[in-house]
């Protein structure tokens, strides 16, 4: 109940911190957004920029509303592909990290491998994936999986490597392997897994859209953007970008909610 041990800095000074007030958190970015859109709109209108070069926000918005049903469908497919990739990559990575934790050399070796894959621009692997899976949705899922797995492995392995006095507790009550895993090791790794997901999930959306752009299932955001851009449908491209942004935000909120639910016991999530 005390806030003294809570993690995270808090402004306790007498000065009112507008930026951290709930209103400020919403108000300031909104103002920024409105100003930006106004400048954009005016620049396009006054500068007489051609719609194929840069459409005005109002034009994009109208198209976005007009095509909303189609765009939601596309985003849904992209979202499902990403989700499958994240799920597959995370399960593989967490299981692998769980299996090799305790085997130091193997863990180190896999960590080095993870770092290498993380440094690799994953898109470069797309042609390889199409060899395996053809120009299909599966290739996109595989790409997301390859991008997500090393991130999740790094975080999960950090989570599993932790030790605490709880290990002594488990030994003192003669807990078996299964209890040790479910009651201690997995929950103790959970904050790391959630941190991994916060990094991996937005990346998964990006990888999915880029992979779709190069090929892959037809009715997805990436494929739509490519098709419309080759036909010089700039407004359609922009409306798809707006939808991609929305998808990204939605997914971010979803992960944050999951985080809040699963880690409600965690020190850093305590209500002050």
């Amino acid at each position: 109940m005390t806030s003294t041990e809570a993690v995270g800095s808090k402004d306790t000074g007498p000065r009112v911190d507008w930026a951290n007030l709930p209103l400020g958190v919403v108000l300031i970015p909104t103002l920024f957004f409105v100003v930006l859109l106004t400048i954009w709109e005016l620049a396009v209108k006054l500068g007489d920029v051609h719609v194929l070069m840069l459409p005005a926000p109002s034009v994009i918005w109208i198209k976005f509303i007009e095509d909303f049903d189609i765009l939601v469908d596309l985003a849904l497919n992209t979202g499902i592909e990403s989700a499958k990739g994240v799920l597959l990559g995370s399960v593989i990575a967490i299981m692998l990290a769980g299996l090799v934790h305790g085997i130091r050399w193997l863990n180190q070796g896999l960590l080095a491998y993870s770092s290498t894959v993380k440094a690799l621009p994953v898109v470069a692997l797309y042609p390889v994936m199409t060899v395996f899976f053809g120009v299909t949705s599966k290739a996109v899922v595989a790409m997301v999986c390859v991008g997500v797995a090393p991130i999740m492995f790094t975080f999960a392995s950090r989570g599993f490597s932790g030790t605490s006095e709880h290990d002594d507790l488990m030994r003192s009550i003669s807990a078996g392997w299964l209890t040790r895993m479910t009651a201690l090791v997995l929950p103790r790794a959970l904050p790391y897994v959630m941190a991994g997901l916060r990094t991996a999930v937005p990346l998964a959306i990006i990888i999915a859209i880029i992979s779709e752009y190069f090929g892959g299932s037809v009715s997805t955001l990436g494929a739509y953007i490519r098709r419309e851009s080759t036909m010089l449908h700039t407004v359609q491209v922009w409306s798809a970008i707006v939808m991609a942004c929305l998808l990204g935000v939605l997914v971010f909120v979803a992960v944050s909610l999951l985080d809040r639910y699963f880690l409600r016991w965690h020190a850093s999530r305590q209500e002050a």
């Binding site: 002594d168 507790l169 003192s172 009651a183």
Partner: protein, 263 residues
Amino acid sequence: MADEMGTLGLRASGVGKRFLSKGGDVQALEGVELEVAQGGFTSVIGPSGCGKSTLLKAFSDLLEPSTGELSVNGKSPAEARAAREFGVVFQSPNLLPWRTVLRNVTLPLQVMGVDRPTRIQTAHEMLELVGLASFIRHHPWQLSGGMQQRVAIARALSTNPSVLLMDEPFGALDEITRDRLNLELMRIWGTLSATILFITHSITEAVFLSSQVAVMSSRPGRITRLIEVDLPYPRNSQTRDMPEFYELVIEVRRALVEASDAT
């Protein structure tokens, strides 16, 4: 392994522990002799780093002594652990933060394969005993340090062990809370008749609780004196006002000074 004259609650004979480290080996314990009768309450007191926690860890089978032998109810620590002869209360409450108070207390029973209704029933009784029955749905972070340590005691008692090993359980608490928990512990011990080994660095705490105080010196850690505390049980807040209490506090303090002078 049974002792000759009936079974002792706890026994250490010739126990030594050497830790190997880069900056030179450390002799944490040397020739430790200790006997605690069944149902007895013995405190081990000594300066920080004298190896008193190491001794408790050896009794609870969390580390192997380099030399000597230990027994808990006549069994080796490993056998005793497997037979759930003892419960451990750690320095920190050591609760699992993702589990509610109830599920923290049921954990040892879950490990033993006790069925759910019995588990919950027992946990209720134990939490009742430590006065936290109304906090079963709380998470550890919602409790104060003293309450958390009471949950830890309830957890250690849940398997109904005949021996309780307590490693400076109230060391991190303020003095007022500590005094209150000492009274609580006396009340609980009175209803349980368990053997207790209690590690502490508080002289008054050691005298107030124990029937026997073992004074340790550091480097190497050895028991230099055993002081019998013949204050009457049950002990309560009046016990602290007795002149005999003060005499014993002075005696333990002298023994501690002598122990540190000897090295």
